[in-house]
Subunit: 389 residues, 2 copies
């Protein structure tokens, strides 16, 4: 395992503590677009201890704006990782029982190669010369990571949102290397509405003159306004209408009456603006383009089933637990039912729970007791069947 | 009635055929923000003939991006007006029975005063010096227009989306001047989610350097990219997820396979980009800011009922027909039910129909037989009660 320093695609610093490995050494990785990627860095974190027969590994796959710091403390923010509700001692993804791996996705901006990385041929950031990647490519790179770690089979692959797409891709493409699979708040394909929302975000970024046709890093600029608008538009889809009403309603921001102007009179405006402006500091604009594009291209039935989702899961031995949230309108419960129907069409071993909550898509990142219980129960049961004490 | 030419706020030309009147002559109109507006132009169109006792007038109120050309041919586009499905001989809003008035809203950009109009004090376009207006202000100006036309009482006020807000405002503020009221696909207040979506649009426009802090007209520029992104974001909310899936799904745009790039691979992307770029040609960016802000500020219960919606309708004699669309997620059927509950709390005369359709919010502009029948039936019945043959 190589420790690669001075990677360019880190948001705040080029030298933060994370595990890193160089993949595609000797044998380059062929991307779906046809480009070969060689000697590329992938950043990851692990939690817990790998057991002697290497049978207790769980791959946690992150969402669009997530990273490898799923548990513990994120060294860049000093705050808890994004899934500390689920991962830790005694938690459903129990660090005392399992060896948990979480890697930054291909195309990301937290240490894995992406458009902000240096293109060795030019010595400059890749920008839009970076090859367009897919969810399949992200998973291919994760497979290489597991090979490096000497792990043949995952006890489980678990992810929400785009993480769920990766989990499904693992199940369809590498069924012999996965014992159980938990796709959460996700879909087997991007719908027209999903594509539409991310296209708005991409257009907002590309419309920002400081995007500089993708060369903003070379120009010493940052498309702040465009990225902020993209984040604001996406963020609305992560919360339910009910949650927005409960959390903000029409309450005013630090004022007694509206100001008859375009300042943030309403709390929801102030909140969204903050979401937008803070996101700029922690995420690379071009990564946003590439990772959303990978989601748009995701269509498991087309890629693995010749258009039939059940065919993508033919003869699978994996145990599935599909979880959706009743108020999620980003990836609808119906999207999860499509997955369940596909699995049922393959007579697969599948449980499905639609967690009743008003928290919307973001519920998978929040404390939601029924969700916690379902995931914990499934993993406990699967662990017994796997022979994990 | 004065015919005012050379109004500056016309999108393509300063001399297109429309009726115009100068309002606030002698007695300026006091806006909610406290500013007095004097001698300001309002553009409008009429269809059909006013009867002898002036009892057959219908005010049709338009939505955010609508205009006064509701029926007939729009002289600027050469295409049918935006509500020819509803207005015309033998149609539900029958031009052979009724005298229909439709005016461009205050703050608009089709001949009524708005931020693109010339500020007489500076000789330059108002830009952000234009006072922030409200739905109440829009209706106040319509009242002045009716006064000019010598019409004391409206047989009906009918509008969808923001037009429905104006219809509700008429009912609450001028109950003695309205016989019947048809709020369609609307809400008695803007929810946090509504505010959020329009705030994204405003931020997209204001982030565009060609917006020039609102002075783009003086600078000879146009915030094209920002307006396009704003329109794209809003447009998604006008269609249901089902409609997007049926109309576009994941179908590709003039290609056999994805291109691994950021062009419009998908039809939905191509469609949205077209919606965005064509909107720039027909709508003023600052008008978009002002009119969306007016909607955000709309809260009928707060303005007219001290927080209680039923109180806003106390003792009303108006006959109401509230119409929603089952798949509308921009203004939800629940928003209409809130209106109905408020009216019921005032023991008002109210019918409510939730039209089952998968066309989403845009259904009010489309051919939707149940909707046509409901509106036609209600108007026929109301006309008999009004003594209109």
């Amino acid at each position: 395992m190589t420790t690669e320093k001075n990677i360019s695609n880190l948001p705040q610093s080029d030298d933060f503590p994370t595990e890193r490995v160089i993949l595609g050494k000797g044998a380059p990785m062929r991307l779906d677009c046809g480009v070969d990627l060689a000697d590329f860095p992938m950043a990851y974190q692990t939690y817990g201890t790998l057991n002697a027969d290497k049978s207790n590994a769980i791959l946690v796959t992150h969402a669009l704006t997530g990273d490898q710091f799923a548990a513990g403390i994120n060294p860049l923010t000093g705050k808890p990782g994004w899934w500390t509700t689920m991962i830790g001692p005694g938690k459903p993804i129990d660090t005392e029982k399992y060896f948990i791996i979480c890697s930054n996705v291909l195309g990301g901006c937290m240490g894995t190669i992406g458009p902000a990385s240096i293109n060795p041929e030019t010595g400059k950031p890749w920008g839009l010369d970076f090859p367009v990647i897919t969810i399949s490519d992200m998973v291919r790179a994760q497979v290489l990571l597991l090979d490096e770690l000497g792990i043949e089979t995952l006890f489980s692959v678990i992810g929400g949102s785009m993480g769920g797409m990766q989990a499904l891709e693992w199940a369809a493409a590498y069924p012999d290397r996965v014992f159980s699979c938990v796709p959460i708040a996700t879909s087997a394909y991007h719908s027209a509405q999903n594509i539409a929302f991310y296209e708005v975000g991409r257009q907002a970024i590309m419309a920002d003159p400081d995007w500089c046709s993708g060369r903003y890093l070379e120009e010493g600029k940052k498309p702040r306004a465009g990225v902020a608008v993209a984040r604001m538009a996406a963020h609305i889809t992560y919360m339910s209408e009910t949650a927005l009403t409960q959390k903000f309603g029409r309450r005013l921001q630090d004022r007694e009456a509206v100001t008859f102007g375009f300042e943030a009179d309403f709390q929801i405006e102030s909140y969204l603006r903050h979401q937008g402006s803070s996101f700029v500091e922690r995420f690379d604009a071009n990564s946003y383009l590439y990772v959303t594009r990978a989601m748009d291209y995701f269509d498991l039935a087309a890629t693995h089933g010749n258009g039939v989702l059940a065919a993508a899961f033919r003869d699978t031995e994996i145990r599935f637990c599909v979880i959706s949230f009743s108020s999620d309108w980003h990836y609808l419960p119906e999207d999860s039912r499509v997955i369940v129907r596909g699995l049922t069409g393959a007579a697969a071993n599948v449980s499905y729970v639609d967690v009743v909550t008003d928290k919307g898509h973001d519920a998978f990142l929040l404390k939601e007791p029924e969700f916690t219980n379902v995931l914990g129960g499934f993993l406990d049961g699967a662990a017994r069947r796997r022979g994990l004490a």
